[in-house]
Symmetry: C2
Subunit: 332 residues, 2 copies
Amino acid sequence: MSATTIRDIAVALGVTPSTVSRALSGNPYVKESTRAAILKKARELGYERNVMASNLRKGTTNIVGIIVPRINREFFGNVISGAEAVFSEAGYSVVICQTHERLEDEKAALKVLAGEQVAGIMISHSSETVSGEHILDAIGESVKLVQFDRVIEGLPGSIVINDDFKGAYTATKHLIDNGYKRIGALVGFMDTILFKRRYEGYAAALADAGMPLDPDIVYENTILRENGYESTVKAIAAGCDAIYSSGDFSALGALECALKHGLKVPEDFGIVGTANETFTSLVSPRMSSVDQHPFEMGRSSASAMIRLLSGETQGEEILIGTTLVTRQSSTR
Amino acid sequence: MSATTIRDIAVALGVTPSTVSRALSGNPYVKESTRAAILKKARELGYERNVMASNLRKGTTNIVGIIVPRINREFFGNVISGAEAVFSEAGYSVVICQTHERLEDEKAALKVLAGEQVAGIMISHSSETVSGEHILDAIGESVKLVQFDRVIEGLPGSIVINDDFKGAYTATKHLIDNGYKRIGALVGFMDTILFKRRYEGYAAALADAGMPLDPDIVYENTILRENGYESTVKAIAAGCDAIYSSGDFSALGALECALKHGLKVPEDFGIVGTANETFTSLVSPRMSSVDQHPFEMGRSSASAMIRLLSGETQGEEILIGTTLVTRQSSTR
DNA sequence: TTGTAAGCGTTATCAT
DNA sequence: ATGATAACGCTTACAA
């Protein structure tokens, strides 16, 4: 038994497939009584539109690809989750690819999605990605692009990022307000816009408080837990009494380092991380962190994509707010 | 500029589309020199097979749907990640849906995937799901089914589950071996096979050690952190000196409860959780947990699906091993 | 308001 | 080993 087609409905009702097609796709040139009969019969026969045939004919799909470094990271998982909610609401399917932080895999994913004839691609780049030529190569004119979180300049389409500057600014100011005097920074890769903006937010907060910006206590490429630990060894030696970190894992390393050195947190040493990973509220002392609202970022990115697809816009830049979640590690 | 089709290649080479199609799909009835020329020209023109047209013609897709309660949970994220690796290697695309633990959403997801004409569905049921009729309703005869982790009996297709019995048995035995004398259990919903088997593993370990099974210190429906805390209050009052938990979050609640009550972990009180969530190695004391190898479960499920699709099998039951990761919370 | 007819790109069948 | 032809199910000018 094969699936019901519009032809089956047409035959059953003594009309032609065209009429059925029109009725089903909301074309206004269909008599109301005819439409009603068709809809009824369709339900009766359990009709489901053959998406492939429909797309083949229309030359577009209702599939959107999402490319992320890793899906099993909390932040990206939540972004995808938010995006998925909006897309499925709007009748789009989502195909997800991972790059494992590798440019090669990013290229491969783009190729797969192009083959899948996706209508659009939502992407957050791998850490190895610095330019966007491979994107232009892979996707045609017609494939819409929304970059989120880790973005590259000079590409068409829309961009959705956190207000990284403000998040870092607020976090740093919070440390200052809590009386910390010499605040080091664990920052990421400075050629990534996102990390650069966080650094700038940190620097601005210091400046606004009339505190000096000391490059000796700004540690670049500090992303992982181990990096955080090592850099904090240096920070402590350099007389720091607090750390602003642009990531939670490196902040965790900082926390472990401080405790190991016999410092009390938050009494002797303050720490604020970024991303508000689940574990930040599970470690002790509980860690303050900048929440990036990943779910909201996913929702906004998906909405931006839908606007792109509908031609409502050619491209926009959207800023998602952040919220500083203050916990024990920085509050005294 | 529209995409290259087999017709373009055919015209360029003075052959017919049929020949090009055959060459491209590995049909043996093509002269080697012809095939070589076609492959060369295809690469030259940047030809990519139009998946929709191909699928429409063949009447099958190469899309597999994956339905999980939540994608932003570590366990499921890793399962998906593992499955995705195998599927994309085998040329399948993956569409992911979430149920948010709701039966309604599970039904909706099945409908969406059916409309998408997926070749197969990989599913781990919502906590509200107790029977499988909606599955039989939604998917046709031809859609293959692989259930993983949270499974329901009486459905066609394959099943991939952890060796839950053994995992619980090993965890409990580990506590016994470390000299704990009265071991309580935090278990989940007993009408879910998975939790039932874990309970049985716990019970068997006690029996094999000649220890009594006391129903008073077995706490059902204890899944969340808060539940774990509350149940452990009772367990301590009932004289327990250890807890086996069938989840990590409830185990965390147990840990917090024990510490709050002034008990030293592991000296006075032992704890083992299940799932080996990242945070288990971040809390202090670090928590022992049964690792379920979610990535491997994803890989195996995907392989099982591919075997189902190829007709190699009609259905199988696969057991994924578990590994007890012993950390401070249970080792003295 | 409805019907007719063509075609989206591919593949399977039959013929050569 | 290759070509001709039809068909997968749907949409959309165009005609009526």
